[in-house]
Every structure is written in structure tokens, then in C-alpha cells.
């Protein structure tokens, strides 16, 4: 069951499993994308949910909001092309041991859309190295064959970073849109296993 929660509310529905901060242009991306939404009354409840170890997923603008809240490190800057980019691209699954990726295999390549202007991940160099060493990158842009590199990174993100997770492994932020890739009628169903993964994980955790 899915509930929409109003941004001015201060509590999540009882027994919430997964919290999704979806894409969109919260507050028109004014000031900095995600900055104003990060101050919404509901955010405290989202932080509490995350600290209890339950999954939180930020997609696109949701990822930007998570970095502004501080649930994830870094920031998302303008694409190097200075263009909004809407397109299908390929990402490689770097970890299969997260609540979100259990139904994928490590190294699997997904065809999945992006649609953003600010998707270039940023962290100061040292912190970026630490992030990589700790294995917190979950998705990386790549060629259809799974090769990573600048040529296959549409927005200029360093190391092709498309999605990262926190150390605890329950807060995932990603620029690509898994919810736009759940039916082949619309071009791809490669995002569907993500939802199945997190569903299984929650069932396992809650014992339902």
C-alpha cells in the first residue's frame, strides 16, 4: 500500500516500511534544488525513520533533498553540458547487498531513464575517495556493455556516480528514475527489481 504524505505533516503513517522522496521540482528548484524542501515539517519524521534503520529512497530531486538534509553526503551540481537531460541511459549495479538491490546481481547493467539538470555528484576529493573506499556507490553510469567512463556519464558525475548509499546501508539516493522503468510499454522494466528488492527486504525485516 502506498500513501502520499503532505509535506506539512509531522508524522509518517503507522508501520511505514519504505519512505520515498520522489523526483520533481520541489519549490521550483529555487535557491538550490532540494534546499527548501529539506526544511519541510515532515523531514524530522523522515530522519527518525532512517535512524531506526528502515529504508529511505531519494530519487532525482529526492536525492538532492537527502543531501541537503544531510542523510547522504555531497551535493548535486549542474550537468557539465549545462543542459537538462532527459534520456534513457545505462547504469551498473555496484552492490547487491543493500535493501534496494537484492534482486539484482552485482555488475548487472540496467537501462533506466534520467531527467535532471543538476545530477553531477560532488564531494571534495578526499571525501570522494573515502566514499569509494567504503563501497558506498551503488549505481554507476556505464555503456550498454557495463564499461564505465566519462563517455558514458551523461552529466559529468565523477567516477560515473549515479547513486550512493549511507554507511548504515538503508538510505539510498539516485539520480536515475527506477519508477519510470517498470513497464516495457514505456521503454524498460529494469527498475522493477529495485521495488521488488525493497519489498522483500521489508517483509523479511518486519516478518510479514
Amino acid at each position: 500500500m502506498t500513501d502520499l504524505v503532505w509535506h506539512e505533516h509531522t508524522t509518517l503513517p503507522r508501520d511505514t516500511g519504505l519512505v520515498v522522496l520522489p523526483g520533481g521540482f520541489s519549490y521550483g528548484d529555487y535557491l538550490r534544488c532540494g534546499a527548501i524542501a529539506a526544511k519541510s515539517p515532515i523531514i524530522d519524521a523522515v530522519i527518525k525513520h532512517a535512524s531506526s534503520g528502515l529504508p529511505v529512497l531519494g530519487i532525482c530531486n529526492g536525492f538532492q533533498i537527502l543531501t541537503e538534509i544531510g542523510l547522504l553526503p555531497g551535493a548535486l551540481l549542474a550537468n557539465t553540458s549545462l543542459d537538462f537531460i532527459c534520456d534513457f541511459c545505462h547504469v551498473r549495479v555496484e552492490r547487491e547487498d543493500t535493501p534496494f538491490t537484492g534482486h539484482y546481481r552485482k555488475g548487472e547493467v540496467l537501462r533506466i531513464p534520467i531527467a535532471h539538470y543538476e545530477g553531477r555528484f560532488y564531494l571534495p576529493e578526499e571525501q570522494l575517495r573515502a566514499l569509494e573506499e567504503e563501497g558506498l556507490v551503488v549505481f554507476r553510469y556505464c555503456s550498454p556493455e557495463g564499461v564505465t567512463g566519462e563517455d558514458f556519464t551523461p552529466n559529468g558525475s565523477p567516477n560515473g556516480i549515479a547513486g550512493i548509499i549511507n554507511r548504515k546501508g538503508n538510505v539510498l539516493g539516485m539520480m536515475p528514475h527506477p519508477e519510470r522503468a517498470t513497464e516495457s510499454l514505456l521503454g524498460s522494466s529494469d527498475g522493477a527489481p529495485l521495488w521488488a528488492s525493497v519489498n522483500s527486504w521489508i517483509r523479511g525485516r518486519l516478518g510479514v
Binding site: Y27, F84, D87
Partner: protein, 717 residues
């Protein structure tokens, strides 16, 4: 001092008419208001008579012209509201904001019908790419559409873009929106009753775009910079709130009538409601939430964006207010519906405007401009074009594919979020754009066309062909048309030759609408598209909405097939007039336009629809710009397939290989479906012209499409 009526944009005759009707001289604010409301942009005074010749009713039509948008029935109690509207002049002076507010305005038009906006398309006629000024305008326009459409969360699923030097300083930006509406939840602007209240919701009012409508009704001044203060600024975030807020208020049944505030703002929205409802309306300017101090006439005419006018019963007010508050939108009761038939505006308790609502919002006297057939003659002479051997054919093809007008458009549409709302089945970059409607499990297909070159060659046949170019791909994809909307982009109608071309173009559209039963449900007129550097070519733009049930998936315009036949349906020969070959390969040569033969089009339609219903083909593409060879090349590039053509069944003249006009299409058919396919096309010209091969587009063994071109065009480099 009383402003001169001419400075307000009124002719002596119009001013005389005003004095006769009122029995007095108009006050200052009244004069300013009438100047705007009687402008071409608001009144359609030059085209009203012409537009009345367009067929507007039909089986699927739920709402024809006269409302904020037309509506067609898509079954099971659902309708699609749609309209296209120009924002040409604003985009010429401030490309980003002009295009952005064009998108915002058309979204509100659809919203005003009670519909949820679900798709956008844009028709862009841009200047030559070698002109830096035009390139800067083009860039700003695309960024503006992206900036607004992406942020407001409505997918931009397609459109039409073309380039010609005539648009260098006068680009055309025609924005289209489609909205989904339950047929029992349509909102009208003609249902207000005396005693009800006028509620303004949305942004505060400022001096934006004062008299923008009048601005759109004259040619562009020499220095477009001096026109800048008139440009409105769009706020897609507030628009998103406004859409959700109005739909929520509507879902509670609290709206009696609704109008968006576009050109001429409060004046047009409120006076039109009064005129259409047969009531009066009394607006208190003191109650309008303002950003700055303003004169009453400025408040009346401000074009500040992201505002809607709702008519509601007094009892509904509390709930409307609490919904608007929740969406953090300003709102205010600014007046009431009266029974005196007058449009009244008060300020500080004093009546500053008191005019018959019908006179303000019901249009002004029509203007009949003289017409004269252009003296030079508009038709070509039909120069024989000679034969092309295969190497020459290959050279022509590669030159045509290099032309910006034939190039694919991913650099533009990648900047638009075409997937948001997750219903886009066939995205931009295809012959049709298709989205699905979950509510009744159907597919809605949309196409948009404009062909200034064919229209300038022969306005009647050219406009008809423009319309048909929008219809044929719909049919080939399997969708039956339901209705059309159009935007008549032309230069000044005051020039008799321009006016003749305008008249003939409208006749061409009317003929197709009538013959093929594709009624006109909404539309817009943009005249005076001229600048000191010249006037635009006649550019009537047509958009058609079609419906396909979900039992047979839409037929794509290319497919990756291992083996199969390639069929040409329709005449072997096309016509070169106004087409890519004549424009690019033989500029200066005069070629005749094609003929419009309604029966042939109908035959084509029936067979194309049957082909999809019977699933008799793997892919199909209506032949359009660049003719047969270009269509084949695009199929090869897109699906990375090869096609070997059999020269024995093709003629080697440009009419066959590159000709356009008329119902012709190419189909890819798997061997097992050949018989079925042929049975679908029985009684119509059809011939097998080649077969699918592992790679390359070959004619008589000659490669037509070198690997570099294929890779580059496919974006594989």
C-alpha cells in the same frame, strides 16, 4: 490628457462605433481596455469570418471552439481537452520567458476546462542556423520550454521544429497542451449567474505584460529591446500549485465557471465569462492582491502569469479559501456577477469602467481586409527534373540528410522531460507521439505539422497537405483522428496578397477537415508576424489528436527485423514542389505543388488503420519530408537495419525517390504477413520495392547510406 484612440490601437471607425454604442466618449481606462480587447489577438476581428468556415462539429467533439480549449471524447466517460496557442512576439523579444510563459498559458487554458494537463507539444519555426541572432533566440526558446515544462511536471512529448531564414528575427513558438477530463466534470465559462462571486487565485498582480495583447497585434518594432518591459515572467512552481489547487477545488464541486488569465488579464477573463453567460460582472480593483501600486486600467489589463479566475457561490468560499491556503496561494474575492450586462470596475468606490460586457468580451466589429492573388503567380511551372543514377541518388540523399530541417531533433527534446507522469508510450523522435490513458486503457496519439514552403507555393494545397501530413502518420500508427487544433501564423492581413494567402490557407484546412471528418475544436491566430527584415512565410500549424484502443499496440515507424519485405503503398511518383529536394538540391527550380485528392486519402486511411488492426506489418512510415529515400534512410538508421532496394520496380527520377505530397507510405513486413498485408491494401497502389538486409541501404548494389552517416545520425559516432 485623454489619450488618442489611435494610440490605444483603435481605428477611427472602431472609435466611432464605440461612441455610437455607448452614447458617450469612453473614459481613459475604458479606452485602454477596449484598445486591448478589440486588438486582433483578443478579438480575432480579421479572421472571425474566415474561421467560421471551418467545420467544428463531429462524432467525437464534446466541446468545439469558443471555450478555453476544445474537447474530444475518448470513450468510457473520458475526454481530451486540447489547444495550441502562439507566443511568437513575446518569444522574439525575450526568448526564454516568452516561450516559458507560452507553455504556462496553454496549460491554464486546458486547466480552465477542468482537465488535468497530461502532455505538451511545441511547434517551433526558427531562423536559419547560420544566423547568430536566430541561434540565440532558438536556444533561449528551447531552454524556456524546458525550464517551464519540466518544472511544472507535464511531459513535453513531441512537436515540430523547422528552420528558415524568414524566422530569423520573428521565430514562431506555438505551444500545445492536452488535458484529461471526465466528461461529466467539464468546466465552462458560460455558466455564471448573478449573485455569484469572482475569485482570483494565484500570483499577485504586477505590471507584467501590460497591453501584451495589443503588442501581439502589430509588427515587431525595429528595436525589439525597447519592447522588453511588456514581457511577462513565468513561475512554473506557482503554476504547479495552481493546477493542483484548482483541480482540488473542482473535485469538490465548488466551481461554477473558470477562466485563465492570459492576454488582457482580469478584463478578458471576467468580461468573457459575463458575455458568454449573458450576465454582467462588477470587479473591485481595490480587492485585487497587488505587487505594486497600479492604475486601475493597469490592474484591469495586467498579464501577470499564474492566475485563474473562478466563479463560485458564496457558500463555497470558505472551502475554496482553505484549499488555496493549503497550496499557499494568494486568493481574493474581487467582484461579483451581476444582472445588468455591464463590465464594471471600481476603484476607491468610484466606477472607472462601465461598459457592456458583450462589447468588451464578446468581440468587436469584424474587419474585412481586401484580398488579391499575388501577381507573380504562386505556382511553379513544373520543370522536368531529369533522372538520377544510383551514385547521384546517394549524393542527393546525403545532402538532404545533412539539412537541419531533416535532421533528428534529440538535441532539443533531450532537454524536455518527456516521461514525467509515466504515460509516454511513444516519445519525441518518432512520427507520432503517443501517451496512454490508464483511466480507459487507451492510447492517445498526437501529431503536429507546419510546412511554410508548401503553403507559400500554393496556400490551398499547401495548407491541406500540412493537415494531411499530420493525419497520415496517425493513421499509419493505428490511431483514428478525433479532432484538430491549429495556429494560423501569418504576416499582416492588411496587405491584400497576404490576406489572399491567409484565406486560401484556411480554405485548404477547411476542405480536409470536412472531407475527412476531422473537425477543428480549438485554435489560435497570430497575424502581423513581420519585422523590419521581412515577413514570415505563411505558416499555418496543425495538430491532430487521435485515438487507438489498446487491443493493438501502436505501429512504430521503424523496427529491427532480421528478414522481410519493404513495401511502398501509394503512387510511385510523388511531387517535388515545396519539398526538401527542390529546396535543397535544386534551389531556384520551380516545381508544381501536389494535388489534394480526398478519396485517395480516405482509402489510404482505411487501409492503414486495417494494417495495424490486423497486425500485418512490423513498421510503417508515412512518406513526408525528403520523400521515399529519406524515409527509408531514417528507418534504417533508427532500427539499425539494412534495406536492399530493387531498382526494377522503382523509377529513377526525383519524383519517385524524393517526391513528397499525397498518401504514400513505406512498410516493413515479415514474410509470414505478406499475404495479410497485401489483402489490407487491395485496391490501392502497392508494390514490393525491396527487402530487409543485414546492413546498408542499397539501390542496385550501390550504398546509399555510408556507414559514417548511419553512425553519426544514429548518435553512435
Amino acid at each position: 490628457m485623454r489619450p488618442d484612440h489611435r494610440a490605444a490601437g483603435l481605428s477611427d471607425a472602431e472609435y466611432g462605433e464605440i461612441i455610437r454604442t455607448l452614447g458617450r466618449e469612453p473614459e481613459h481606462a475604458e479606452l485602454m481596455i477596449l484598445g486591448v480587447m478589440w486588438s486582433e489577438h483578443c478579438s480575432y476581428k480579421s479572421t472571425r469570418r474566415l474561421l467560421s468556415s471551418l467545420p467544428t462539429s463531429g462524432e467525437a467533439v464534446v466541446q468545439g471552439p469558443g471555450e478555453n480549449a476544445g474537447i474530444v471524447d475518448i470513450g468510457e466517460g473520458w475526454g481530451i481537452a486540447f489547444k495550441v496557442e502562439s507566443h511568437n512576439h513575446p518569444s522574439a523579444v525575450a526568448p526564454y520567458q516568452g516561450a516559458a510563459t507560452g507553455v504556462g498559458g496553454i496549460i491554464r487554458d486546458v486547466l480552465a476546462m477542468g482537465a488535468r494537463p497530461v502532455a505538451l507539444l511545441d511547434g517551433l519555426c526558427l531562423g536559419g542556423q547560420s544566423c547568430p541572432e536566430a541561434a540565440a533566440l532558438a536556444d533561449g526558446i528551447v531552454k524556456g520550454i524546458a525550464g517551464y515544462g519540466n518544472a511544472v511536471g507535464v511531459p513535453t512529448i513531441g512537436g515540430k521544429t523547422l528552420y528558415d531564414g524568414c524566422y530569423n528575427s520573428n521565430p514562431l513558438v506555438n505551444a500545445m497542451c492536452l488535458g484529461l477530463v471526465p466528461l461529466d466534470g467539464i468546466v465552462s465559462s458560460r455558466t455564471a449567474r448573478p449573485g455569484q462571486l469572482a475569485v482570483l487565485i494565484g500570483s499577485r498582480t504586477g505590471r507584467d505584460g501590460i497591453a501584451g495583447a495589443a503588442f501581439a497585434s502589430s509588427g515587431l518594432a525595429d528595436d525589439t529591446r525597447s519592447s522588453r518591459p511588456q514581457v511577462q515572467i513565468g513561475d512554473p512552481f506557482v503554476e504547479k500549485l495552481l493546477v493542483e489547487c484548482c483541480l482540488e477545488i473542482h473535485s469538490k464541486g465548488l466551481i461554477v465557471a473558470m477562466q485563465d488569465m492570459g492576454a488582457a488579464g482580469i478584463t478578458s477573463s471576467s468580461s468573457e465569462i459575463a458575455a458568454k453567460s449573458g450576465t454582467g460582472i462588477r470587479i473591485n480593483a481595490d480587492l485585487v492582491p497587488l505587487r505594486e501600486e497600479m492604475e486601475p486600467w493597469e490592474i484591469a489589463l495586467s498579464e501577470s502569469q499564474e492566475r485563474m479566475l473562478l466563479i463560485a457561490e458564496e457558500e463555497a468560499l470558505e472551502e475554496i479559501g482553505s484549499i488555496a491556503d493549503r497550496w499557499q496561494l494568494d486568493w481574493a474575492v474581487i467582484g461579483e456577477v451581476t444582472d445588468d450586462g455591464l463590465f464594471v470596475m471600481t476603484k476607491g468606490g468610484r466606477e472607472v469602467v462601465s461598459l457592456p460586457a458583450e462589447m468588451v468580451g464578446g468581440g468587436c466589429p469584424s474587419v474585412q481586409w481586401p484580398s488579391r492573388k499575388p501577381s507573380g503567380g504562386v505556382k511553379g511551372r513544373g520543370v522536368p527534373s531529369g533522372l538520377l543514377d544510383p551514385p547521384e541518388t546517394a549524393r542527393c540523399l546525403s545532402t538532404i540528410l545533412e539539412d537541419p530541417n531533416l535532421a533528428e531533433r534529440s538535441r532539443i527534446y533531450r532537454q524536455y522531460d518527456y516521461m514525467v507522469q509515466t504515460n509516454t508510450v511513444v516519445p519525441p523522435g518518432n512520427s507520432v507521439s503517443i501517451f496512454r490513458v490508464r483511466e480507459n486503457r487507451s492510447f492517445v496519439a498526437v501529431t503536429m505539422e507546419v510546412d511554410p514552403w508548401k503553403c507559400s507555393l500554393d496556400p490551398f494545397a499547401g495548407a491541406a497537405e500540412t493537415f494531411l501530413k499530420a493525419l497520415r502518420p496517425l493513421w499509419v500508427s493505428g490511431a483514428k483522428h478525433l479532432g484538430m487544433t491549429n495556429c494560423l501564423n501569418f504576416p499582416s492581413p492588411e496587405d491584400p496578397e497576404n490576406h489572399w494567402i491567409l484565406e486560401r490557407s484556411v480554405s485548404g484546412l477547411a476542405a480536409v477537415a470536412r472531407d475527412l471528418a476531422c473537425p477543428v475544436v480549438s485554435g489560435n491566430v497570430s497575424l502581423y508576424n513581420e519585422s523590419p527584415s521581412g515577413k514570415i512565410l505563411p505558416s499555418p500549424l496543425v495538430a491532430v489528436v487521435g485515438l487507438q484502443d489498446c487491443n493493438s499496440p501502436p505501429l512504430r515507424d521503424s523496427a529491427t527485423l532480421e528478414a522481410g519485405s519493404v513495401f511502398l503503398v501509394g503512387d510511385t511518383q510523388g511531387t517535388l514542389g515545396g519539398g526538401a529536394f527542390s529546396r535543397i538540391i535544386t534551389p531556384g527550380a520551380e516545381h508544381n505543388p501536389g494535388d489534394y485528392v480526398p478519396l485517395k486519402e480516405k482509402d489510404f486511411m482505411e487501409r492503414a488503420l486495417k494494417t495495424v488492426r490486423k497486425e500485418a506489418a512490423a513498421a510503417g512510415r508515412a512518406i513526408a519530408g525528403g520523400g521515399l529515400m529519406t524515409s527509408l534512410a531514417k528507418m534504417c538508421i533508427k532500427a539499425d537495419i539494412g534495406i536492399g532496394l530493387d531498382s526494377a520496380v522503382l523509377d529513377s527520377d526525383p519524383e519517385c525517390l524524393f517526391g513528397e505530397w499525397g498518401p504514400r507510405a513505406v512498410y516493413l513486413v515479415p514474410e509470414r504477413s505478406t499475404e495479410l498485408f497485401l489483402s489490407c491494401w487491395e485496391g490501392f497502389p502497392v508494390r514490393r520495392i525491396g527487402e530487409i538486409t543485414p546492413g546498408g541501404l542499397t539501390l542496385d548494389g550501390h550504398e546509399m547510406l555510408p556507414e559514417e552517416t548511419r553512425a553519426e545520425k544514429a548518435g553512435r559516432k
